[in-house]
Subunit: 232 residues, 2 copies
DNA sequence: GTCTATAAGCAGATAGAC
DNA sequence: GTCTATCTGCTTATAGAC
């Protein structure tokens, strides 16, 4: 006998809003649609959120917080000073980021953000502000710090500007598979969701990246091999 | 005395549609807005294009064709076989791609596409089909071929799958500056439009990329230096 | 080919009963 | 807090005069 517990209206709204905004984009979704899918009344949106724009911002920040706790992005938090450890941690980081971004149930948030963020400053400066700080604070910034500390160990004499570009190169290579997914699938006839494809991408990407940072091949190969054994 | 030639209605519509779709995204723009900005009657949209969706597709493909003729992406078309030449051409290619993508008047097309393409398959499969083939055929595919031929010369023994990933890494690093522009500017407090910033990005990116491909540092440095002298 | 006028419907938001 | 009913304005698309 299942006791079907009713999901609170506010949560139900955020949930259905998340699905619909990801699927269609902000402007293309109506509040009626959201309320219907949530199985609640249209008026509750005004009651709980005040406006469609507020519902959107609350939905996005909730998605952002729920899914992104840097979990699995590294194996150990202790101080790392040896290059071998840093190289290994970098591999774990890149693998996690790539899989996290491409995970179908995982990070639609990114796709959603990318879509909305470009038009937002002109249309709704307040929403833009809220979105940008949510992404930067809750997602990008912690990953940026983590990558910076690893790169600084691996390339101790690199100047700070170059380190920034290296970090952006690493993130850019990974997020390419989210932002360009429809084009990659058409051009290469592959499924970006497929685990096998992503594993191979990660291996090659890591090799490319670590050589790009100027690391010797032995260190690179060893770190990659070791990182494949980490359970995710 | 200027003779103010009237722009044909159809062209005027495509032009104002391009501006507005880039700025706000498909769903957030109304046909009235487009007609008003073009200084023509609302009815002409139905007359010339039949529907808003058709206007959108025609607008995008027109943008795509007009701006992207692989111009400046390479210096010479002749057969290249020496590694030095290929390395040099790769540098020119990456610089051009980066500047082309970030050019404010240049490639809003990319931003526009990225925004619309993710929701399109669910909402309007026909439009999705038209958009994807336009981008892949007119933009991605030629650049993919060009990069492949260069990478094949630079890394003659690489297996084809890895070459694909290398190509995607290069494009991903460049397009990161379009897709993540608002976040980069917030996080780093820089202007992605600034020429100086992009020049430095290009230098570092090229160094990183060519080392990632396994090229020796002397070849890399020489190719980068030479490519800086190419006028754009 | 371009105009005006208008149709038919949906948008977000509100008021007030319960 | 949740419901129904409704307001106001804007949406795309059409019909028909010129």
């Amino acid at each position: 006998m299942n006791i079907a517990e009713k999901i609170p209206t506010k949560e139900a709204l955020i949930e259905s809003a998340a699905e619909l905004f990801v699927e269609k984009g902000y402007a293309a979704v109506s509040t009626r649609e959201i309320a219907d899918r949530a199985g609640v009344n249209l008026g509750s949106i005004q009651y709980h959120f005040g406006s469609k724009a507020n519902l959107f911002v609350e939905t996005v920040t909730s998605m952002m917080r729920r899914r992104h706790e840097l979990k699995n992005y590294f194996v150990q938090c202790q101080d790392i000073s040896r290059k071998e450890d840093a190289a290994f941690e970098l591999c774990v980081f890149v693998r996690s980021l790539l899989f996290d971004l491409c995970n179908p149930e995982g990070l639609d948030v990114c796709r959603l953000m990318h879509r909305e963020i470009h038009g937002a400053p002109a249309q709704d400066p307040e929403m833009f502000e809220a979105l940008v700080s949510s992404v930067v604070n809750d997602f990008i910034s912690p990953r940026d710090s983590r990558l910076r500390s690893l790169v600084n160990i691996l390339v101790p004499d690199a100047d700070p500007f170059k380190v920034n570009i290296y970090i952006q190169a690493i993130i850019g290579q990974c997020s390419f598979y989210v932002t360009h997914r429809p084009f990659i699938e058409r051009l290469r006839d592959v499924s970006v969701n497929s685990r096998e494809y992503l594993e191979e991408v990660a291996d090659t990407l890591l090799d490319f990246t670590m050589r790009g940072l100027g690391l010797e091949q032995a260190l690179v190969s060893q770190a990659i091999a070791k990182s494949k054994e980490v359970k995710r």
